[in-house]
Point group: D2
């Protein structure tokens, strides 16, 4: 519980926005995995602030230092500790927030929970914490790679601009070619324009990330409470600003009849497959060998450069206008985090399945 | 992991559709809670097959026998074991299914996972298993009652018939007055008509359950991986046929701007509250004292009385027409299960918060 | 935590001495294991009260009913629920104990912990609960058998009568040939005489059980907090009346020098082995392929037929003389329980090692 | 499992002897606890190598850097990450060990488990890892201090020199007045002389640490598998070189009769207490308010400066003579580690008891 994710492959996270740094411990990583450090850095870079005009202008170099568990380039099976030092914090940006609860932020809830809170940049509730997840996710992706399992996410909606169609309709290799991380260039341009417009108004906007996992073998998932999609839902909704999760045809499934929605089995040269995949690759909570795909909804970033009604810690009503450097839209940077959480979940379930 | 749900209040489940019975062990229930056995039976009855013309005609009396943990009507703090015996199974209904994978059922995935499966009525993957959850949920509801926390769900969509509006617009006391469990009589009638129509065609239909938790104190939720809504998502997506979860304004949040979506704080005679509640009562993964509400999408029941293309265990293609007694729509019976899982989650988090 | 034991192979226990029965749920058992029901019954019978003149004369038939998880004689990978109904309880034996704390029993501690307790026969703290462990242990032994791992325990000390020598000095096949479960006939006779003498005086006596695990592969154990011997210690000290645990040369190791105690490695026709085995088959918390052996100390049964000073629930001092039917010595019946806990631990660690 | 200890108060550890450093993450620490950094440093210093002539001459300054979870001197309830950098390693000391399995070390077992190992100084199996435990233990002690619970350990045996008597017979305030950490000056001198003698012969020696916990309320402990003494046993046997654990009268209990061993209750001015305390403050796995005391056996350090028979990784027999800088006796430095593990266990159980 608490700050640990996973059952066999387990990631325990620490760190706040304006403390010494963020990081964590990866436990249960299989031994003997060769770690490509350049790949890990690149993955972490995909989440890095300041990577484009669409993200916060905060400059963070985000260098990860591995502290243990890797010897001569390979994992040893022992815990992999790591840290990403914080830098470039401007705590004075937050001075005025010490005693004020920012609307739709975690400030008030943390205060009620712990009776104390670190007000600098949201402290533990800051998305800064997800940097550690990207490192753990990169390690998981490398380990999954050995099993030929790939995890790819992309921005499929920003505000009301929605990329219609399935992941199959796009070349996901193009996702990284634009700052929005949408594999369809024209839609990406529209999204980008919307984000810039919203940003110019001191506002923020929500959206949706879609993700597909390919190459996963049938048999992953632990009935009844450890259903694979339940674990993915848990993983995705642990990401800051996430508001909803659906897999396969998700909420649309509510509209359909069994005769429309069922996935017929057929024999594909001796391999059992389904003609359609409304199930999203998971049946009864267990993977069936088809592609696993799902969508995650994100709300708009809560910090806006506009006056908002709120109260102070002592209960007095006040107006608050934020001045910090924030993203106008989390979607572009949420893509690698969605992938990281998905990769950790898949690797965890792959290892659990081995313990039979 | 596996068949245990929860951290402090923990429910471990056992049982298959056509074995001796289903049941479980509730561990970590607070001591000294008076258990109203009639209430538990009523709650279990809400999930019972054969309760109306809209559900499967299978007759199950569903008598729960408590085996331990309750002494002179009160919980003792020790594990509460219980069993609900199976009865009225007609295994021969399933004889023809022994070697055939039913489309969009868990048959194939279980076989791939375990290399063996109990083919009678879906075995462990049957919704029969949820009877145990209703017992554990009833116990959780009783324990929550002492803290004045209520959990109420209702059917808000069947196929494309959708109850527009918020839970606040309806008298949830009316939910149990119709077999669909929709608190709005006219919509309930429409839903009922649709289900009967679908049923007459040998087909099935999906829908959505909405749920609201009221009276929960601020401070429940365990950042970062134990966010309260992540736990609720996990809980809901562990229910058979669930396809999606959203809390607060959920997927709609993707459309909104921060300035539209943020919940302003104000002082309500000294109590800090929010003017709107798009957050769904949870901010940063922690309850803020407002109502917690969420929606769960369910697909149509996979078993239909129509010929479907599929394959046998030996890989031969075949046609399958089901003859068993199944629900045309899971929604009415899903309502108490959603409540049960929500109640268990809330009680678990309430107890975790005490361990500070 | 609480009433669940194990990580992958997990046993959750329920039940009290004078409730409906005791039992549990075995989760994570590998699928496809053929269960010899006669073997399970025999193993349970080894723990049964009334099996000899050395044990309590309470008559319990101890029939186990399996409720799930086994189909056509083989495990399916789903949870195995089971119950052993209580019978022959004479609750009136305990009427006088309702308001009195029995010395060195758990009565007072339970009352302080939960604020409520089931006074009949010790309730949850009764050794009756271990019947469930023997069922789970029997299943674990069967599963281990497929890997040629054996677990054998025996009584090595009763009071001051101690069987000198190592497990290698005895034919452990003789353990079941006498009611004390000591593999050395002459010592067994002495132990038996001592127990009868103690019993005739209305008293009880403690002792030691020794156990050896053979055939375990090298590599089992999870550093640093999941060391194999730490898990075994936890398992053994969870047994009622256990007071101490040591493995290898245990407390004797305190006396030795490194030069005396180290186990030299040598090559046994290409297989690396150790010349001595003071390590008890575990080095750095991980099995090294040698025999794993350990000892568990048990105190005398707390219930004696003699007047003892104590207090009532309301704090008044009183004298108490027990009249119930109790064992004069737990050792003979502790042997199968030690084996059961050891077997569950080993199987759990064997499965964890597969998840690499 | 694996590298995490505890249920509510959880410590996850990382680090190897010759990597970047050791450290960990403390999760579940109560918020608002004032951390005296000087105290933490002192506690860590008690474990530090080179503190006296009786320990390894390796020089380690052991500076702990806290990375998160503490704000303005107080815990915030969020994870406390920390690191102690390694320094002064002389990896060349270990060059010759790369391909050789040191007798009674973990080298061979790790290799069998993971198929790979970090040979420098034992890697993860080095006692260097316990530095992190001392930091977590110091935090736990501070938190326990608020509940007036104290944990004190001392060396009670070195080789065959044994301090006779109970913890009550000594002034434990004297424990830190000599390098052996024995509260009885004359015995301490004898122990010290023995250790020096053994050291001069290039050898090592084992011993016993005794520990007493005072001030713990009645009611701590989680039946049946979470018995308080079972958790303590697990904790103690997770310490390097530990071979046995006993609480109360432990293995001696085997000799006694119930009439001798039972602890009579009496009313001490309205407070229920026991006249004797053979139970060691724990009955039925739950604390009863009396002092909790136990003993832990340690073997001699495996590294000796004498030629020993062993084999190489490739299976060839060879002779090995160690040249590294090692302790002749772990006991003096084991004392603070025993205290740390005991403090973490107690705090964990105290917090669990709150979740009722």
């Amino acid at each position: 519980m608490y700050n640990t994710f996973g059952n066999v492959f387990r990631f325990t996270s620490f760190g706040e926005s304006h403390g010494k740094g963020v990081g964590g411990i990866i436990d249960g990583c299989p031994p003997g995995v060769s770690i490509d450090m350049e790949y890990v850095r690149r993955e972490l870079g995909r989440r890095r602030p300041g990577q484009s005009a669409l993200t916060t202008p905060r400059s963070e170099s985000d260098e990860v230092e591995f502290l243990s568990g890797i010897y001569e380039g390979r994992t040893t099976g022992t815990p992999i500790g790591f840290i990403i030092r914080n830098e470039g914090q401007r705590s004075h940006d937050y001075d005025e927030l010490r005693a004020v609860y920012r609307p739709s932020h975690a400030d008030y809830a943390y205060r009620q929970k712990y009776g104390i809170r670190d007000p600098r940049g949201g402290g533990r509730s800051s998305a800064r914490e997800t940097a550690g997840r990207c490192v753990a996710g990169a390690i998981a992706k490398i380990a999954l790679g050995g099993s030929r399992i790939t995890v790819r996410a992309y921005t499929s909606q920003v505000g009301s601009i929605r990329l219609e169609g399935s992941y199959k309709d796009f070349d996901l290799g193009l996702t990284e070619t634009n700052p929005v991380r949408c594999p369809h260039a024209a839609t990406a341009s529209e999204m980008e324009a919307l984000i810039r417009d919203v940003q110019s108004q001191g506002d923020t906007i929500g959206g949706v990330v879609s993700c597909v996992i390919q190459g996963a073998p049938a048999g992953l998932g632990e009935p009844v409470f450890g259903k694979l999609h339940a674990a993915l839902a848990h993983a995705m909704l642990s990401i800051n600003a996430a508001k909803g999760f659906e897999y396969g045809d998700g909420f649309d499934a509510a509209h359909y009849r069994g005769s429309e929605h069922n996935d017929a089995f057929f024999s594909d040269n001796g391999i059992i497959r389904t003609r359609t995949n409304y199930s999203g690759g998971i049946q009864g909570g267990i993977s069936n060998g088809e592609d696993i795909y799902f969508r995650v909804a994100f709300k708009a970033v809560a910090t806006i450069r506009r006056a908002q009604e709120t109260v102070t810690e002592t209960g007095e009503e006040t107006l608050l206008t934020a001045h910090g450097r924030h993203d106008p839209c989390v979607l572009p940077r949420a893509v690698p985090i969605v992938e990281s959480m998905a990769a950790m979940t898949l690797l965890d379930y792959l290892l659990m399945q081995k313990a039979k």
